[in-house]
Structures are given as C-alpha cells and as structure tokens.
C-alpha cells in the first residue's frame, strides 16, 4: 500500500518539476516506499504477529515505521549544518499471560521479525512472576485504513537553497535591528510513515509531516558583561512547507530583534502580586504543564511515579472536582488541524477524537489508552497511546490539550481594560512544575507592565508562580475566537527510557487575578 499523499511515481514527477538539477533524486528513491517495500513490510508484520500468537501471546501489535528528518542550522550569516537522517525498523508488543513484552529491530524482514517476536515473548514470560494484575484491554474496532495530514507543499521536495535562503533572510532581518549581537535559526522537517498491524486484524498506514521553524536573538553588552535573549521556539505544526511561505516570519524576526534590544535595557520587575494577562505564546505552556500532565491517567495511577511523577488529581476525581473557574473549558483533541499530536489513529489503532477534560470548570475526564480506560470504568480508549520511534514501547502520551475561547469576541484590550497594576506575559520563558503538578513557576520571553488598563514598558527577570487549582480558579477573562492561537512543544519528555512527544495547545489570551510574581534576578 503506497503512502499518501504522493505515490512514489507522483513524487518523482512533481519533484523533478519543482527542483533544481542539483537536487537529490536518490533521496526520493530511498524514502518513498514503493509497492515492494509495502509488501515486505506487511509480510514482516504478519510473520511477527503469527509467531507471537503461536508462542502464547493473547494479543500482539507491531509498528513498522520509517522516519526521515531534514534539519538546517544557521547563525548570523552562515549555515552551520545541513543534515538528513532516516530510520526504519519494527517494534513488536506482545501480551502473554497478562504481561507485556517488547522487542525492536532495524531489520525489517521476516526472519528478524520472527526473532523479535520470540524475544518479546521471552521477555514477557521471564517477568511473569512480577505480574500482580493482568493487563486487560478495552475494545477497539478492527480498522483497515490510510490517513495523512493534508499538506500543500512537501518540505522534502523543496530545494535546499530555498530553505537556507529563508533562514539567511530571517537572520539578516533580525541582525538589521541595531543592538542585536547574535541570531541563530533552525528549521526541521519530519516525515513519519507509519504502519500498524495487530492480531485483531487492524492494518493502518499513516503519513505525518511536521514543520519546525525556530530562531533566537541575543543582545550582548560586552562592556557591562550583560546579555539577554529572545527565543521564538514553539511554532511547530503538523503542516507542510506552506507554513514557511505563508506565515509572516520576517515580521516576527524584526519584532524579536527590537524586543531583545529593549529587554537588555529593561528595568527589573518589582516582585509582588499582579493581575496578569497571558498570551497564547506562553499560556500554551501553562496549559501543557498544569492541565496536560495532570489529566494523564497513568500518572494519577502511579505508573510514572519514578520519573515524571504522579498527579494531584485522583482516579476518583473525574466528575467531582472543581479544576478552575466556570469559564474554563479544556479539551483533549487529536483531530485539531495543525496540532502536533493530531493523527488519524493512535499507536494501537484507536481512531482520534475530541473530548472534554474540564467542562465549566469541573474536571470531567482523563486521557486514556486501551489499557487505562477499563481502570476507570470506561469501555473505550480516547486514543492516547504513542511511541516516538519504531524502537520505543508505546505508552500513554498527551493529545493536543486546548482551552476554549470566550463565546463572544473579546480583544486583548478588553482583557487589559480594568487592570490597575498588571503584567502581560508573552513567549516561552523558564518553566518548572512539581511532580504532582501543583506548584509552578513560569517566565516569559517578553513581559510588559499594564497600568490602568494600558500596556507599558518592558520589564525583565519576572516569573509568575502559582498552584494549579488556584491559578485556574483565578481566571476571569478569556479572549474571543479571533484571539485563539495554536502553539506547541516539539519535545515533551516522559517515560523511561525517555521518549519525546510533539503536542500543541490552542488557546486565547487569558486573564488571571492576583498572581505572585517573582524577581528571579534578585536571589
């Protein structure tokens, strides 16, 4: 089965039309799986699943994935690095007597797949004495499907010169601002071609393309031994090269240049209590840390106690616990267009969906997988199983978790209007939150004073600190639909061995009352 949206033949045809003569036809040859590759892959999957079943597995599934990445890194007026990588392999998960076993190999062929099945079953059996509760999976539909995220222009077909020229112009634009000392920029393109097969008969092919542009400006005062940076790093989306062409990146670069110069001269914040308005470019991270992670059911059950931690939410809290103010509505959503965690089906073949985690301020539901759903009495998974590589064990990962905007149009100025002493927080600063997701501290890239409803001068060294339920209870204003933005983090860490997950969070700007603000430069 060829993977959409372009067949190998189409890819080569359009590719040769689009690209310069110097471009790399073998790159296309190598990574567009053809019919032979597809049949070899299906054969390896079938052999592995059959072998696992013969050895006593009550359930098995396999992911045979091909990843390709292209990254370009620059600083100021030079390209530091252009690299491409590709990785192909299979990872097999088996359930034997209620215990999981997993094995993975970069050899995608029947003999290696069969050996992997034997290893996975041996691992599950060796651990049998350590099983005190047998794994039970919620029902999942048998699915035979193909899914891909719509892209207008495949980044892997765009000539390299076009991409480096984009980054050079980005750097040049920021460097043109007097006072900017350094600029670095990177762009990463990721193409995931995933094949899933299970002993329940599901066979799913998916292709996901992500585009990750980011840059950072630095202003240094060498005489004083002082410097500041302004990074724009959380704009990645599930999207093609059109993102580079359609978004006003150069305006952002110029703005970031002016901002970092202003930041170097900004006065330190006066610590105290403030009403704060948090822009989507920072609020997405607060949502990620305080809502995204606290509503992971595996954390609440203690499965992540040794690493990321647990949750202040208990397994019995759903439907009973007030999470925030009544205007706060948060959804889990693996269907959101552009969302980094958007997909057609999760890594155990469950169709993506959208559901409320917090409704009218009440905590109502969890992020679940087929293994987790029955543990809170649910019949179906919300589709949150994910592995970051063919070699990784799939486990519960965060969907896009987004804050719904106000029903009517509310502007930023409306949110500022009745604030006497406040701060407006934009962009990623330093974030830190405890292992049960209560106490957090978030900085911002650019923080300005709000005085009597008006936006004022920039301040530096500010960070806001709160406790998750207090913070969301203090929310008394949300921007309207026109202010809603999607931001995302490309490398959310969780699990052991550590895995990364790309996930987006949509939100409007929001206002929070009487929040503690620290001067982090004063300690």
């Amino acid at each position: 089965m060829a993977i959409p949206p372009v067949s190998r033949r189409q890819f080569l045809a359009t590719g040769s039309a689009l690209i310069a003569a110097t471009y790399v036809p073998e790159w296309a040859e190598a990574f567009q799986a053809g019919a032979t590759d597809d049949s070899r892959r299906a054969e390896a999957a079938d052999v592995a699943l059959a072998r696992a079943t013969a050895l006593g597995a009550s359930y098995a599934d396999i992911r045979i994935n091909r990843y390709r990445r292209e990254s370009i890194a620059t600083r100021e007026r030079q390209v530091l690095n252009v690299s491409r990588s590709a990785s192909y392999g299979l990872g097999l998960r088996v359930l034997v007597n209620g215990a999981w076993g997993f094995a993975a190999t970069n050899q995608v062929e029947p003999a290696a797949a069969r050996a992997a099945a034997e290893q996975a079953v041996a691992i599950a059996k060796a651990n049998a004495a350590l099983v005190t509760r047998k794994v039970v999976l919620a029902h999942a539909d048998q699915v035979v499907a193909t899914w891909f995220n719509p892209i207008k222009r495949d980044p892997f077909e765009v000539p390299l010169e076009t991409k480096t020229a984009f980054l050079m112009k980005l750097n040049e634009t920021a460097m043109a601002v007097p006072g900017v000392s350094f600029v670095s920029s990177q762009i990463l393109f990721v193409d995931e071609q995933k094949y899933f097969a299970s002993t329940e008969g599901s066979r799913i092919s998916q292709r996901l393309v992500r585009t990750y542009p980011q840059f950072s400006t630095t202003a240094a005062d060498r005489a004083a031994g002082d410097f500041q940076t302004r990074a724009v790093v959380d704009r990645a989306q599930l999207i093609g090269y059109e993102y580079v062409e359609d978004y006003p990146w150069f305006a952002d670069a110029e703005k970031a240049g002016h901002e970092v110069v202003e930041k170097l001269k900004a006065k330190p914040v006066v610590a105290g209590r403030y009403d704060i308005v948090v822009d989507p470019s920072q609020l997405f991270l607060a949502i990620h840390e305080s809502v995204g992670h606290s509503t992971e059911l595996d954390r609440s059950l203690g499965w992540e106690a040794n690493m990321a931690g647990t949750s202040f939410l208990k397994a019995t809290d759903a439907g009973k616990l007030r999470f925030g103010a009544k205007i706060v509505n948060l959804v889990g959503d693996r269907t959101q267009p552009g969302g980094l965690a958007t997909t057609g089906y999760d890594d155990e073949g469950v169709k993506s969906e959208r559901w409320h985690l917090v409704r009218d301020g009440m905590f109502v539901d969890w992020q679940t997988t087929r293994e987790l759903a029955p543990l809170v009495g649910q019949q179906r998974s919300h589709g949150c199983l994910h592995a970051d590589d063919w070699s990784s064990v799939p486990f519960p990962r965060m969907p896009n978790v987004s804050l719904e905007p106000a029903a009517t149009e509310v502007t930023l100025d409306d949110l500022f209007k009745d604030i006497k002493r406040g701060l407006f927080v934009e962009g990623r600063g330093v974030s830190s939150i405890d292992q049960q997701r209560y106490n957090f501290q978030f900085g911002g890239a650019v923080i300005r004073e709000i005085t009597n409803g008006k936006l004022g001068a920039m301040v530096r060294d500010a960070a806001y600190q709160s406790r998750t339920p207090d913070f969301w209870a203090s929310c008394d204003g949300l921007g309207g639909p026109a202010t809603y933005r999607l931001w995302g983090t490309s490398a959310d860490g969780k699990g052991e061995p550590g895995q990364t997950n790309a996930v987006s969070h949509g939100c409007p700007p929001a206002r929070f009352r009487n929040i503690t603000v620290l001067n982090t430069g004063a300690a």
Binding site: T22, Y23, V24, E29, A30, Q78, V82, S83, R84, S85, A86, S87, G89, A99, F102, A104, T105, N106, Q119, A120, I123, A126, N127, A129, L130, V131, T132, E161, T164, T218, A220, R222, A223, A224, F227, L301, W303, E304, N306, M307, G309, F312, S392, V430, S432, D434, Q435, R437, Y438, N439, Q441, D461, Q465, R467, E496, P497, L518, T520, G521, A523
Partner: protein, 443 residues
C-alpha cells in the same frame, strides 16, 4: 553489536563511496547498540523490552561545503546512497565557514567502560533483582515504581585523513521510587555502573523504601534561606548546569556565566570554594569512558576547576583553531571532589545547628545563564535538622538559587566523598545558604 572489523568495514565502504562521489574530506561514524529495560510501578512490572539499532552518519566536505546524512541500513546499496546523499547536500550548501580538516591517525587509550554482561541481559537474573526490589517495598507496605536499564554500544569512526577508532561502552542503571500507602511519604534512590553485575539492587531498594517511610506526614516550613546538606543525587541534579556552561566559545562571545567584563573570560578567577576540584578523566576507575571526545580528540585528564579557581574551559577543534591553541582533551566525564579529606553525611548533620537535608531536586531549569540561576523543587525526601539531628520531614519547597553563589568561597562548608551518577562523580555538599521561594503541596 558490531565488532571492530565489521564496524570499520562499514566506515571504509562509506568513505570510499564519498570519495568517488567527489568529497574532498569526510568522516563516518557507525554505532551499533542494544538497549534492554524493565519498568515497574504499583509494585508490579509494567513494560519491558529490548531494541537493537544501528546508526551510520557520514559528514563530507566538497569545496569546503558541508553535508551530512544519517541512516540505519547497512546494505551495500544503502551505504552507497548515504554517501552520495551527503555529497549532494554538500554541493548545494553554502561554504562551511567553520570547517576544520578531519583528524589524521592518532593513538587512543583503552576503553575500560564496557561489560559484556550489560549488553546481553540475563532475563531471569533481572527478574530476580526486580523481585528483590518489589519484595522490599511490599515488606514496608510502600508502593514501588522504578526503572531497570542495561544499554551497550559499539562506536567506530574513520576519516578520509586516516583517523580510525573503535570503542565499546555500557551503562546499567536502577532507580526506585517508593511511596507510602497514605500518599504522604516518598523516597527515591538510584545507582548506575557500566557493569550490570555491580548494581546493588538491594541497597538501592532499601534506601528508597527507608526514605519513603521516614518522609511521611511532612510539616510545612516557611520559604527562606536555609543551611542545607545536599545528598549526591541532589548535587547531580544541579551540577549539570555548571558543567554544561564550561564552553570557551560562549564565554569568549560574552554570553556565558564565565564571560568577564570588557570582552575577557573569567578563567583564572577564584569563583568557587577553595575546597572544590572538578576535572575530567577517561580512566577514572569508577566512571571510565571512551578515551575520545565526540570530535575524536584523544581524551586525557583535564582540570576544569582547581582549588576553586576556574582553570580551563572546553575548546572545540574549531574554536581552538580560531584562538590558535589546542582543542581540550575533554571533558568526557566530570569528577567533583574535595581538596581535603571528604566529610560523611552523618558528620555534616552532627555539625548542623539548623537546616535541611535534601535528597534530590526535580524539574530544574536555568532562569539566568549569567549567574546560572536555577529554579526547581525538592522531591522524595526533605528533612529538618536541628542541634545536629534530623528532627522531622518537611514539605517540599521551590528554590531559586544561583549555582555560582551556591559554590562560592563563603558558602561551601563541607564536601563529601564522590559517588557515581553518570556522567558525574558527585559528593554530598554542606552549604551555608540555599534560597527557597515557595512551598509545594506535592509529595
């Protein structure tokens, strides 16, 4: 894992193809790996697996233009294609202004950080070790979660200028978090070694369980500046921010904690306690590592901080060339130790009038690279000390603390014996002051 001959054969095939395709210079690395793990939580096994992979990276230069490609397929066609692709990327890339010719033949020391038993895990022995851990948890009525890992890799590298090297490395680790049944106590302990046989599962479990039992029902204290004793794990959680800042280029460019005024660096300044030494040594008996930097420079002992004085920063091959000096032979690991006889944690507690004992930190982030100002939280064991004795557990606290101020000459009262927390050897520290800014409800 591939042996020396097979690994270098792949390197040679790719180098030859790169040359044929037009590369003026090239470097190839081949890493083969086996990773095995078992996770447990809620006093039972959760996931367990094994993965084998191969990583082949070729970097080439054509007319000083650079291209790089990575793949995991070692078939002849794939290797040819990988080299061709790197050359094709180089041909359409701008001139690489930081090009330094690849290394020629060099002599490297032995690699001592590999144990075959870590590469091929005995599944029954691992299950027995985990049963020891879970048994210790059940005995004290605490809930155990943790992670057992055993990884091994073989890395070969070769260049068009004749450099050839091959090293093997392994790393085994066990970490355990124990939580009391009432959810008011939590303890963590971890150990690692290159030789799986040297992991002491029983001791690691007993330490974690003991901390969980002793940390139950913590009392709140007011945030503020307190004297503290940091256990080695807590020191390890912070010192990576210091060791990660010892780069010469960022210091020279004026954007590092070690940038001085008027364009100078702070090398030669007595920034830290005169008791403090930090150095790198690939042959250190407890934490031996491959005797080569990532760039292929033969590694040898390198002093970074000596008697509290910043003695050396790390120079990459490019930055060394710019500054007309040699690249530094490391760092490849970090050994933090006292210039004096080490103090035990018990003695540190006996000598403490009032203060805190800290097991570990969590979610530590750097707020300000100028001062290495960090924020984060205590986790899994925090106790109040008064009159030379531990009095009671206290609730977790958020800190905002500069590493430079923490290790300043006036703040370090005692340094313990270093323990392995890969890639560090770190001691316990007794400090006069450590700044906490808020209380956390988290257990």
């Amino acid at each position: 894992m591939l042996n020396r001959e097979a690994s270098l054969q792949i390197c040679d095939t790719v180098l030859a193809q790169a040359k044929t395709a037009g590369a003026d210079d090239a470097a190839v690395s081949v890493q083969s790996s086996i990773e095995s793990h078992a996770r447990f939580a809620d006093n039972r096994i959760t996931t367990s697996g094994r993965a084998e992979d191969l990583g082949i990276t070729v970097t080439v230069w054509v007319d000083r233009r650079r291209g790089a490609a990575t793949g995991n397929d070692s078939s002849p066609d794939a290797l040819k294609q990988l080299a061709n692709e790197a050359v094709q990327i180089a041909r359409v890339s701008p001139v690489h202004r930081e090009y330094v010719p690849t290394l020629g033949p060099l002599t490297y020391g032995d690699d001592r950080g590999f144990a075959a038993g870590t590469a091929e895990v005995d599944l029954a022995a691992r299950a027995a070790a985990l049963e020891t851990v879970l048994g210790a948890c059940r005995k004290e009525n605490v809930t155990g979660a943790g992670f057992h890992s055993a990884n091994a890799s073989a890395t070969a590298a070769a260049t068009a200028n004749g450099n050839r090297r091959y090293f093997r490395a392994s790393e085994a680790g066990l970490s355990v978090t124990a939580r009391s049944a009432d959810g008011t106590g939590s303890g963590y302990y971890a150990g690692d070694h290159f030789d799986l046989a040297r992991l002491d599962s029983r001791r690691i479990a007993e330490q974690a369980v003991g901390k969980a039992v002793r940390s139950q029902t913590p009392k709140p204290i007011e945030p503020g500046v307190y004297p503290v004793i940091l256990e080695p794990q807590a020191v390890a959680d912070l010192l990576g921010f210091l060791t990660g800042s010892l780069d010469a280029r960022t210091a020279d460019e004026g954007r590092s904690a070690f940038s001085g005024k008027d364009g100078k660096t702070r090398v030669g300044d007595a920034l830290f306690s005169e008791r403090l030494n930090i150095y790198s040594d690939p042959l250190h008996p407890e934490i031996p590592v491959a005797p080569s930097t990532n760039e292929g420079v033969p590694a040898s002992r390198l002093s970074l901080i000596k008697g509290g004085v910043l003695e050396n920063l790390e120079y990459s091959r490019f930055w060394a060339q710019e500054k007309k000096r040699d690249a530094t032979p490391g760092p490849v690991n970090y050994i933090v130790e006292s210039t004096q006889a080490p103090a035990s944690i018990d003695d540190m507690i006996k000598g403490m009038a009032r203060g805190l004992v800290i097991s570990r930190f969590w979610y530590v982030r750097q707020i300000d690279p100028r001062t290495l100002m960090l924020t984060g939280l205590t986790r899994d064991g925090l106790w109040w000390v008064e009159k030379g004795r531990i009095q009671y557990p206290v609730r977790n606290l958020r800190f905002n603390q500069s590493v430079l101020a923490m290790l300043a000459p006036w703040n370090v009262e005692a340094i313990g014996a270093p323990e392995r927390r890969s890639p560090l050897m770190v001691p316990a520290l007794k400090l006069s002051g450590f700044a906490f800014t808020s209380i956390s409800d988290a257990i």
